[in-house]
């Protein structure tokens, strides 16, 4: 409904009404999905690094023990 209000409030310049309506409707719509996707990828990278870190730590312990 507020889209309709904006539509009326925006003076027509070079754009047609349809284009203005499209711009208003699109705006930043659904950008949150992109940000969530980026966060998931980043979180996965960090989890992978932490798991590698733990594996290396275990291996270091194992090797140190074998020299005792």
């Amino acid at each position: 409904m507020h889209c309709a209000v904006l539509w009326v409030a925006t003076p027509a310049k070079a754009q047609s009404l349809d284009e203005q309506a499209a711009a208003i409707l699109m705006g930043n719509e659904r950008l949150n999905a992109v940000i969530l996707v980026l966060l998931i990828i980043f979180a996965a990278l960090i989890v992978f690094l932490i798991l590698q870190e733990r594996k290396i730590k275990n291996l270091e312990k194992k090797i140190l023990k074998s020299y005792e």
């Binding site: 659904r30 992109v34 996707v37 992978f48 590698q52 594996k55 291996l59």
Partner: protein, 239 residues
């Protein structure tokens, strides 16, 4: 010395730079405004390269399994296993990110669509591969059986994820009457971000897999299965 540094880190830096470029440019550039997709069309730069890289890694892995069968070199097996592991990782992340995208465009986290079911089945093949590896203790036996299984799974994976969904109707782009990469769909500005993203993620995937494989080699050496000399000639042993 300098040359070997470039050889060792070159592709990793290129991969990291391409991914960084795609993350920034993917949010920066103007995208075509399409109904329903809206701004979420930018997920093309982040979600799709994960699947391309997964397939690329599985291809490399099948190649390394063939190399193992012809050489009985456990380093090839370690590399094949690591590439499957990272490919699975990419698959899970690709699945999760796809679900986010599906929620915002199709209205549900999951739909029983041929493309999605194919992807899930493909991931299950390789989970079975992991289970199989975990079930065999002897390193040489494990490597041989895993190599054969890996080659068979790759031959099943490609039709499951790329061919069958194309033969039926699917919501997912690139399937049925729903193309993804033709001139009408992929804007030329988007190509300049999408293709670098694909190459970047592939290189980063190879890097992650090489880390995982080197760790596996150290395990084999610590367990006394491989000799220390396996390390010396394994540098640059990434592909």
């Amino acid at each position: 010395m300098y040359k070997s540094m470039v050889a060792r880190y070159g592709y990793k830096l290129v991969g990291a730079a391409l991914v960084a470029y795609s993350v920034v440019m993917g949010l920066w550039i103007e995208v075509p405004q399409l109904p329903i997709l809206g701004q979420s069309i930018r997920n093309l730069f982040y979600h799709v390269p994960l699947w391309f890289s997964m397939t690329f890694l599985l291809m490399l892995s099948a190649g390394n399994s063939i190399r193992y069968l012809s050489s009985s070199d456990l380093r090839c097996d370690a590399l094949a296993a690591a590439q499957v592991r990272i490919a699975l990782w990419f698959g899970f992340v690709g699945m999760l990110t796809g679900m986010v995208w599906a929620r915002t465009t199709w209205g549900a986290w999951w739909v029983n669509d041929p493309k999605l079911l194919g992807a899930a089945a493909g991931i299950l093949f390789y989970l079975a591969y992991e289970v199989l590896r975990g079930a065999i203790d002897d390193a040489d036996r494990r490597a041989r059986i895993a190599a054969v299984t890996n080659i068979i799974f790759f031959c099943m994976f490609i039709p499951t994820i790329f061919i069958i969904p194309r033969l039926t109707d699917s919501l997912h782009p690139g399937s049925g009457g729903n193309p993804a990469f033709n001139i009408y769909d992929l804007d030329h500005r988007m190509r300049w971000v999408f293709y670098p993203a694909v190459v970047g993620w592939m290189l980063v995937g190879v890097w992650l897999a090489s880390l995982s494989a080197r760790l596996e080699l150290l395990h084999l050496i610590a367990a006394g299965i491989l000799n220390k000399s396996a390390l010396r000639s394994s540098s640059g042993h990434e592909g």
